[in-house]
């Protein structure tokens, strides 16, 4: 469910692109420092966005420093100097979310897959627990999300809104903590809710085929009462509806976003909200076969998120 919130690279200025990359590298670095080298595997673009937003809202900015990445030993890279607010918190969010996801996958799958997930569980659990020690609210948010999701999938009349609610609420809680100002927290809560909802919906649209094949829960399949195989006509109908829902959610999200007082990074964040998210939608809607995912990561020679 990760990787939909990313910038439209072609529209970034070079220095903005480098800033984006520096923040990406900083989260990777913070993950390694706080939660162990393995946790860097869970790095992803969505939380890079969260970090950018958190850094944009805070008064002080740590500045940059050069470093050498183990994955690319011959290039000097820039990253942010260590700071004690946004980066550790966002890293905590990353590992908590990934842990929740693995636990959720165990419940969902059976056979060999379940065994594989079970093997990764102790690794994510370790990092997840550490994150919980630093930020006690995170494991609560994530386990609530898992429980509510399971419950809502059992309801026979759960619509799109109800199905998206658990993810939306979890993100609302996480984003809210990026600020200490009560007014900003209200905005961030609304923003996070809609962001979580948007991610949930686009992920569901992206997974139509897989869910149909494997019998997984998908709110769109249920709403349009689809039975295999998915006809071209039905797919277009679902995509049209999904596109409208994503657009409405995105517009409402942008309205909340515009009320935030950003101290830096405005162009990059604007790019993600207004261009990057639209691009992600196009990517999902034009992708015929999910397996043929573009293998190249966003940050050219960088490994795509999740790969060493």
């Amino acid at each position: 469910m990760f990787g939909y919130i990313r910038p439209c690279i072609g529209q970034l200025r070079v220095y903005e692109y480098e800033t984006y990359r520096a923040v990406y590298c900083s989260i990777c670095h913070t993950l390694k420092e706080k939660f162990g080298a393995l946790s860097t595997l869970s790095l992803n673009y969505d939380f890079t966005f969260a970090a950018l937003l958190g850094l944009a809202l805070q008064e002080d900015f740590p500045g940059y420093e050069p470093f050498t990445c183990i994955a690319h030993p011959f290039h000097k890279r820039q990253r942010l100097k260590m700071e004690e607010n946004t980066l550790p918190y966002v890293s905590g969010c990353v590992v908590s979310m990934v842990h929740a996801k693995v636990a959720d996958n165990i419940a969902d799958s059976s056979g060999l897959k379940s065994v594989l997930y079970r093997m990764t569980l102790p690794l994510t659990a370790h990092a997840g627990k550490k994150a919980g020690d630093c930020f006690p609210a995170l494991p609560v948010l994530c386990s609530d999300m898992g429980k509510e999701q399971t419950a809502v999938e059992k309801l026979p009349d759960a619509g799109l809104d109800a199905a998206a609610e658990p993810s939306a609420k979890a993100l609302a809680g996480m984003m809210e903590a990026l600020s200490k100002d009560p007014m900003e927290q209200r905005i961030l809560n609304r923003f996070g809710y809609l962001l979580g909802r948007w991610i949930y919906l686009i992920d569901a649209l992206d997974d139509l085929e897989d869910d149909l094949k494997e019998g997984g829960f998908n709110p769109f399949l249920r709403k349009f009462s689809v039975t295999a195989p998915l006809s071209e006509e039905k797919r277009m109908e679902i995509q049209q509806y999904g596109r409208e829902m994503l657009n409405i959610t995105g517009a409402e999200m942008a309205a909340a976003y515009e009320l935030l007082e950003l101290k830096r990074f405005k162009n990059i964040l604007d790019n993600i909200i207004y261009l990057g998210m639209k691009e992600s939608m196009e990517r999902v809607f034009t992708r015929r076969n999910k397996k043929k995912k573009e293998s190249a990561g966003l940050l050219e020679e960088d490994a795509p998120a999740g790969e060493p």
Binding site: D161, A168, R186, A256
Partner: protein, 235 residues
Amino acid sequence: MSEKDPYQVLGVARDATEEQVKAAYRDLAKKYHPDNYADSPLADVANEKMQEVNAAYDAVLKDLKNRKSGSQSSYQGGYSQNGQRYNQGYGQGYGQSGYGGYGYGNSQYGDIRRMIQQNRLVEAEELLDGSPANARDAEWHFLKGTICYQRGWLDDARNHFNAACQMSPNNPEYRAALNRMSWQSQGGYGAPGTGYRQTSYGGGRHQMDACDCCNTLICADCCCECMGGDLISCC
């Protein structure tokens, strides 16, 4: 709220010209336009922003006048005819456009409207859900839609606004709510007609390209043909 630098609020440099200041103000006023935040739980925040921007605009214009005349005392008069606010309606529309003054119909709905306004969504919804299914009219659907909207349940919200408009096609309030959602569903931001975020950025898919040019010509040709003329003779 602490005093903010008016130049910073408008996002202009200290040596900005009057045109630049006005343009910056116009953009901000479009962004925080009450229509963009109608039915939103953040309407009050947007309103506060708008007032901040208005105050900053007045302060900066005053400052500009000062600089022009070079004296400290002359700014008292004068600036107001030049410095007219972009639209006096901004920042005043909140609260009035939506919930104020609706005395007609069931008085129970008046209470529910008030509750929604005070952000007592759970209570309001309980009251609404308590009314029997056959007594649910356009107003009921509109209010239910508003509650869904505030909660972020945008699919249900659209369905209820739709139902409200079907039952009562001439009500401008219901129509505005539905129009805003259809505008957004087509990829628009804010409310239709506020001009918010149409000119800025210019990137993405909105640039004029060769295809647009052909499309425009073909459209023009079709229009001409409708009226009996022809623009492109071969089609």
